[in-house]
Subunit: 297 residues, 2 copies
Amino acid sequence: MKPFAARLHEAMRAKKSAVCVGLDPRLEALPAPLRGAARGDAVAQAAAFEEFCVGVLDAVRHVAVAVKPQAAFFERLRSPGVAALERVIAAARARDLLVIADVKRGDIGTTAEAYAEAWLGGAEFSPLADACTVNAFLGGDGVKPFVKAATQHGGGIFVLVKTSNPGSAELQDLVSDGKTISAHVAALVRGWNERSGEAYGPVGAVVGATWPAHLVALRAELPGSVLLLPGYGAQGAGAADVVGGFDADGLGAIVTASRSVTFPWGSSAAPADWRGMIGAAAEKMRSELDVALQRRT
Amino acid sequence: MKPFAARLHEAMRAKKSAVCVGLDPRLEALPAPLRGAARGDAVAQAAAFEEFCVGVLDAVRHVAVAVKPQAAFFERLRSPGVAALERVIAAARARDLLVIADVKRGDIGTTAEAYAEAWLGGAEFSPLADACTVNAFLGGDGVKPFVKAATQHGGGIFVLVKTSNPGSAELQDLVSDGKTISAHVAALVRGWNERSGEAYGPVGAVVGATWPAHLVALRAELPGSVLLLPGYGAQGAGAADVVGGFDADGLGAIVTASRSVTFPWGSSAAPADWRGMIGAAAEKMRSELDVALQRRT
């Protein structure tokens, strides 16, 4: 299989899109017909999540290049939720959408190897997703098994460098030797990335779209890393905030939005044609990003 | 339900034990009769893991106070593995063993809430485990949902402060404002802990038993936090290395070992009475810790 970054960039060119749609299903936000599942009924809720997410996939498949299912919302439903997540991932890949599993896993040695095989494939199991997010707090011996799995299976990882939440300042903005901890992580990312002649390697970085200044600095610092930019839409970032994350060709970054695309009805009731409304929200985001990138160049 | 620290300390007194047994099942290390599962067969491997882990539980139930299943080894087997993990956790709790789910989860806002509900219980789902490990790299807004769930359900969390692996130095030992990042995390842990009159609160810390000097400093810095000390046995730490993590009453810490207790046959073939050999390894560890703690006082 071709490397992840190459597959991502092909999709971005073909669809003129930098849109990644976050799949963060919450029962109370689902369209009414899907919301019948009882409180505390994990199996029924998992079925509702799956039906909703497959509806989202159908709505965005021609507009988005990737989807980013958030494992936590499925894991909350225990093993029935995890099984539903697996089916949603398979459904996304069957629709030619790249899948970035937002799992933020991180551990040491053989444990990190097990997580890497779970999500990116290994000696026994084929890849579940195309890429996953990784928390590097434990250091390089915990990240390298993910890099190895990604390299072997044409996958990618996105290491958390600067997250989109306000509390990210507490540790990530501490300064050591004149650099923030986020900058230290970025330097490690640069070292872990094995570009092997490609413009972009398998090790990307997560940088909150809510921090435009960080974005520009990290784009320069990490020329071989695809940037995954969360925080667009409901978390407050707009198209003008994210353009600094892209390279001169308008590649090297994808922007992810969850609520603003998948729950565009907000606190109102979802319309009968909820899929159409989601498709329109994804197209609006695609177009906003496209205009902002065109304007820049 | 009584708070986690109170339940832990009752068990420690009753069993004269500070032993936590890590459940890190790997197919190639299992006793031969359990090893028939085919490569790539997640369902069969999950059944083998479950049978092995329940055997471990039976072998250590009177000697260990807690078990620490490592989620990664089950997650590698996808949803059948997660279902097996749930059954292993239920089997442990049915045997009066406390369960610390080693998941190292960490995320922001509503996502962290979902993870917290998955492992520690929430509005809809009752707790799966008694406690879980948490990665605080994203900051307090990602940790507080876990603290809330733990407080409401008599559970606990163990925040990664200084991990046992060599690579932990890369980020955790960076110095900012005269303190390591680990020390900064420890200061945050102290702030997040809600002791509400109890000697120990719900927020504990993971400190590698491989770092005895850190242990003593963190015991003093975190008087209200139970310390979870991994790295005993196969990773090289011994009883003398961990005593500094305990308070004057020999409480406030538990020591976790995985391979040295659950695979005491090393690279040899497991004996027919593998449960007996595991029970003896757990008892040896219990006794070593007990002697070291007695000697200290």
